[in-house]
Symmetry: C2
Subunit: 340 residues, 2 copies
DNA sequence: GTGAAAGCGCTAACAC
DNA sequence: GTGTTAGCGCTTTCAC
């Protein structure tokens, strides 16, 4: 809590609190005499005045706080998004409140309620499920909300993500060019837009390359190494021949590689493998992972900019802009020519 | 901003706002008739009442918000700390505001001021410099503040960190047992407690093992791979013979390994290497990094608990407890017998 | 056990 | 250009 109040600054400067308030507020400063402004600012400086944003917020119903909802901050995918968002937000004088929901819907619900109680001006949500009751609540409450990374089924909110379709197509093209014809997809969970859309893009890409779409999609329960392990076990058990795997993200790829390695399959000699996201240490692994690089920091920044814009123009109807950031295939050691 | 106000709940329940307030407040609930409590809670539920924490905070000068100051969220060291802190905080009904200072003092100063303006109840600081003006301000303002991971010179605040001395000693012991006698330390920056204390511990450990402490400490400008690269270049240029390197953290170790590799030195055949922190993918590298595992999530959680305790007992004098969490040496492939 | 009244620190109409 | 007044939504003495 701030110690010295506006009244005291006003007294020190020999003016009325309202005048001091105007002098300190950049927007209202014009209505005040230059010399008075000086006097007030001096007094504020001298007393070490820190304005009480709560009181201001109570009066103006603006808090200059934005909330960011993350499923798991220890997943390296999210820190860059947080960073991008924080940079933009703090640059605009906003404070970021963060919650890590641990992928738990009830936790998320509680945290979002608590943040609303704190009067946050808007939300950036990175946890969106394909059908998401929490997001629905935000929508119907009319709170400025931007979806990042994952979106919901109905496109009623602005969304900033990556061009997943292109990313997956680049993977398939690359593998096809290497001669692969037996390509399998380790799909992300069906309750995420990324899981669904990457799978759709995968099937489409196979068709483009006239590769029959057989039982070539294996859905994973989560975006984790453990889920990748489990999926690879199913793949092996299924007996379906394959020479390449397109994993829906890097973690799944890593889990799969570990399991297949234990089964005696070497990458890239016996099979090729691609990931998605290009997490920090992927290029340091042996073999280094071929994957799709996504501009994560920019994604967070763009989401924050979109949110700020919405907040600033709160009068107008919010038109849900969907923005897909460009991705890039990074070819490394896990992809090679198809075995003869 | 919350829509429905307490007055409306009160009207709906047919009671005075003050009564509704008491009924909704767990601490004051006892003063109200059981049946009235029921009636009010029903009404609140029905109307979807979300209390306005700002207004409450204005009245009680408590915000139930804690701030976490992080130097760089994209450094994998910090996400687990954030997660641990967030879990404890949200479990206690607190909200976490996060700032990523990008290691920039001015940025930090501004963000801390802004958070103070928002009336946060306390700070967890992971950016502490050995001499830190921002922390000093927090101290003299009497705001509950806990240092995590890094501490300041004067121990005037509670601190939760890792047992660095033990960690470094374990590294040196391990290397000495493998026959290494020419051990070099890549020290962290001198403006961090970890940099200083690990270096001190290193020298002490050498002495314990009767290894002469020559020009065996190279200070790095930052805790980054780039700084590790640069330090390794200086090491090579200096011409000092070495068979093992104790790096002050994993990133420095990685940078050094890359540079030494380019110079034709193989790890662990030509030299051994240890890191510190055991970041997520260290065990997946080739060779996998021998390093010191630190309970990072627990560190964040412990810091949060310490802060909450301070906030709860704000009347009493805060006694700065320094708590060092146990560490563990994880032996992997980067350490081997000393070359003959 | 419940109502009345005051006020947390600030800002926005409205006067002058 | 500056002072006056009222009130954001809530809690908390103090009466009753």
């Amino acid at each position: 809590m701030s110690r010295v109040r506006l009244v005291e600054v006003a007294r020190e400067a020999g003016v009325h609190p309202a005048t001091a308030s105007r002098a300190l507020n950049p927007n209202a400063r014009g209505e005040v005499n230059q010399r008075t402004v000086q006097r007030v600012m001096r007094a504020a400086e001298r007393l070490g005045y820190v304005p009480n944003t709560l009181a201001r917020g109570l009066r103006t119903s603006r808090s200059f706080v934005a909330a960011l909802v993350i499923p798991d901050i220890t997943n390296s995918l999210f820190p860059p998004i947080v960073r991008g968002a924080e940079q933009v937000l703090s640059g605009a004088g906003f404070t970021l409140v963060l919650t890590d929901t641990n992928n738990d819907l009830e936790m998320e619900r509680g945290q979002v309620a608590s943040m609303r109680a704190h009067g946050v001006d808007g939300f950036i949500v990175a946890t969106a499920r394909w059908q998401d009751p929490v997001v629905d609540e935000l929508v119907s409450a009319g709170i400025p909300t931007v979806l990042v990374n994952r979106r919901c089924r109905e496109a009623s909110l602005p969304f900033v993500g990556s061009d997943d379709q292109r990313g997956v197509r680049l993977c398939v093209e690359h593998l096809a060019a290497l001669g692969h014809r037996e390509i399998v997809h380790l799909a992300g969970p069906a309750d995420t837009s990324t899981g669904r859309e990457r799978a759709v893009a995968f099937r489409a890409a196979l068709r483009e390359h006239r590769i029959p779409v057989r039982s070539s999609v294996i859905e994973c329960a989560a975006y984790s190494e453990a889920a990748g392990v489990e999926a690879a076990q199913r793949l092996l058990a299924g007996g379906r021949p394959f020479s390449a795997i397109v994993a829906a993200n890097d973690l799944l790829a890593l889990g799969a590689m570990a399991t297949l390695g234990e089964a005696g399959l070497r990458c890239p000699q016996d099979y090729s493998l691609t990931g998605f996201n290009d997490l920090p240490f992927m290029r340091k692994l042996t073999p280094a992972l071929t994957t799709v690089a996504v501009p994560l920091t920019e994604m967070g920044a763009a989401a924050a900019r979109t949110l700020l814009e919405w907040i600033a123009t709160s009068g107008e109807a919010a038109r849900p802009a969907q923005s897909l950031l460009p991705v890039e295939l990074v070819v490394r050691a896990t992809t090679g020519p198809a075995p003869a």
